[in-house]
């Protein structure tokens, strides 16, 4: 959008002010992440830029923090735990969240709004409150300090994301398609997997992605519900920051940022491709 020739001085000033404001907001959001990445290549054990780094002297940079991350058994165990917990929590979130979204999109279900609000609540209630509640509840039923305890807690946190994204795709879903499938002889289960699921897949995938990242990044609930055996990457980073002040966490942060960007980009590309393939325009 360029400035029209009839713009007044006020409009001109606002036009440029607006751009500067947007730039500042972007800077505010991205700067902390952008700073971490060069710092993670620091040759010294400091959290600041050394004079060598500022001179772009190759001696000021090294991969030692990355080596530490991949060599240190504490970090490796944390990585292993995260990789074991996040995918399982994601699968549970996606299955239950998708079913809930489909159920709640049926107009005949009573008290849909109330049920929806309850299912979404983990996203709205302050995390520390959910965490404390889960801690007491899981202790009572013996899930506290177990692998499945952490997985279920993370699944509960991920479900709202799946419900929201799948509900959004279902809004555009043409219910005469399921009727058509039934009419042609497909039972409800076949109809679900052959007709409904492929069409709401983009929503399911983005919901799953959010659920995965939620679990992968989560530190509060896992500290309450888990035990030392379930120490995940974010937990280890938290401890690292508090106890060792080692720049290794900068290397880990960089790796996590790269993974997140890669995941988001892959899913977005997949989603665009599938939408183009099926020409998602209403008949």
């Amino acid at each position: 959008m360029s400035l029209p020739t009839y713009a007044t001085t006020g409009q001109r000033i606002w036009y440029y002010t607006f751009r500067v404001l947007c730039g500042l907001i972007f800077f505010f959001l991205i700067a902390p992440i952008a700073v971490v990445i060069p710092l993670s290549f620091n040759a010294q054990d400091f959290f600041t830029f050394t004079p060598e780094m500022l001179r772009l002297d190759p001696d000021g940079f090294s991969l030692k923090h990355y080596r530490d991350f991949f060599g240190n058994p504490d970090w490796q165990q944390a990585l292993g735990n995260s990789v074991k917990i996040a995918p399982v929590a994601t699968i549970i979130s996606v299955s239950l969240g998708t079913l809930a979204a489909i159920g709640l999109s049926q107009p005949h279900v009573p008290a849909r709004r109330a049920i929806m609000a309850i299912l979404i609540s983990p996203m709205i209630v302050p995390l520390i409150i959910s965490a404390a509640g889960m801690y007491f509840f899981y202790s009572k039923i013996g899930l506290s300090g177990t692998y499945w305890g952490v997985v279920l807690a993370h699944a509960a946190l991920g479900i709202p994301f799946v419900i929201i994204t799948v509900t959004a795709t279902l809004v555009g879903f043409d219910h005469s398609l399921t009727r058509a499938a039934a009419n042609m002889g497909a039972d409800p289960v076949t109809t679900f997997f052959k007709v409904q699921m492929p069409l709401i897949l983009p929503g399911v995938i983005s919901g799953g992605l959010f659920a995965f990242i939620t679990s992968f990044d989560e530190v509060v609930v896992v500290i309450f519900v888990g035990s030392a055996k379930q120490q995940t990457l974010p937990w280890q980073m938290f401890t690292g920051l508090r106890e060792q002040i080692s720049p290794t966490i900068l290397a880990v942060a960089t790796i996590l940022v790269v993974i997140s960007i890669a995941l988001l980009a892959t899913v977005e590309l997949l989603r665009r491709r599938s939408e183009r393939l099926r020409g998602m325009s209403p008949g």
Binding site: D174, S176, A182, M184, G185, A186, L199, G279, S281, G283
Partner: protein, 367 residues
């Protein structure tokens, strides 16, 4: 409750009622039987219950009371996917994530048909609607008319004996619609399938059907072949709903056999056929088709009643002339005349006398 009623009825509704809220009946006491191979149209304004009837037949709605029989067997408790009825939906309902060929193969696949047989049938069905070259495309790459053909082929590909169509031509432009009307009736008759067609378009109903059921207010008002429906409407609603129609209101003054005399509210008299008036003194609404009005006195019967009319407007429509008259206070009295070489073109302001054969003028209920 199975096995009763007409033995040659392929589809039967027996005292069917439907209510969505438990209070208001959308369908009130519906009785209907269809022989095999018939093309029946359910015609009516929106909210008249016609689509609800179709949905009950397809199994997407359940009847509150009564039985729906298919080939003599009650299908009330059979779920939609076990009824084996083909259906063309209003918005086509093609699966957007499948190609045209995959769409057609779907009903065959769920019937566990082998791949070679499946391909064979899909190809034949696509050729039948002249869409053979489009098997690899996706629905979004087709025009509305092409999607319509595919939807039709998909409803027929598994060879159902009964096919339902829910306003399938509503979204097409006029020319394409007329072409598809012809195409659908041709296919239905060639394949010998029984068809229930729902529409609110009366031209479609008249041109396509063996019989038309006119719905209003949850009831069938008249169930007859198109020509009977148009020429011999049984009540005012049908007369008004089907085709163009002139109405005049008055009181019956004389009934003798199959003719009666009606005195209009301004005192003039006319001849009519009594349809649902039975006694002298009853109020009635007479109905006369615009093309059956005669203003050449020589062509009327000796002693026939005529009415004074004033020409208000003359509209040239190419093949016909449409003239608007004031007759007995009604300013919307239309007559249609063919554009023949010797046809008189009436000038606005002219005073004429009009009349008709008593059998073309029907005295109906005044409601």
């Amino acid at each position: 409750m199975a096995k009763q009623g007409n033995s040659d009825a392929f589809v039967a509704f027996e005292r069917v009622q439907k209510s969505y809220d438990g209070e208001n009946l959308v369908v009130k006491d519906l009785n209907l039987t269809m022989p095999k191979g018939e093309f029946l149209t359910m015609l009516g304004p929106s909210g008249s219950g016609k689509t609800t009837c179709l949905m009950m037949l397809a199994g997407f709605e359940t009847a509150t009371h009564g039985d729906i029989l298919l080939d003599g067997v009650s299908i009330n408790n059979i779920p939609p996917h076990k009824r084996g009825i083909g259906m063309v939906f209003q918005n086509y309902a093609l699966f957007p994530h499948m190609t045209i060929a995959e769409n057609l193969a779907f009903p065959l696949e769920v019937r566990k048909m082998g791949k070679s047989e499946r391909d064979e049938k899909v190809k034949r069905a696509l050729d039948m609607v002249q869409m053979g070259a489009f098997g690899g495309r996706r629905p979004s790459q087709l025009s509305g008319g092409q999607q319509q053909r595919v939807a039709l082929a998909r409803a027929l590909v598994f060879e159902p004996e009964l096919v339902l169509m829910d306003e399938p031509l509503g979204a097409l432009d006029k020319q394409l619609r007329e072409h598809m009307q012809f195409e659908i009736t041709r296919l239905a008759h060639e394949l010998g399938i029984t068809t229930v067609y729902v529409t609110h378009d009366q031209t479609e109903a008249l041109t396509m059907s063996d019989r038309v059921a006119v719905f209003n207010d949850g009831r069938i008002q008249q169930l007859d072949p198109p020509s009977v429906l148009y020429e011999k409407p049984q009540n005012s609603f049908v007369a008004q709903f089907i085709g163009e129609n002139n109405t005049l209101e008055g009181v019956v003054t004389e009934i003798s056999g199959d003719t009666c005399v009606v005195r209009l509210d301004d005192g003039e008299e006319l001849d009519a056929t009594p349809v649902n008036v039975t006694k002298v003194g009853e109020r009635t609404r007479v109905s006369i088709r615009p093309e059956r009005v005669e203003f050449n006195k020589d062509r009327l019967k000796e002693g026939a009643h005529t009415l004074k009319a004033e020409v208000l407007e003359f509209i040239y429509m190419g093949d016909i002339f449409r003239t608007r008259l004031r007759v007995a206070g009604n300013e919307d009295f239309i007559i249609k005349t063919r554009n023949a070489p010797d046809q008189v073109r009436l000038e606005p302001g002219a005073q004429i006398e009009i009349g008709w054969l008593p059998e073309d003028c029907r005295a109906l209920d005044a409601s």
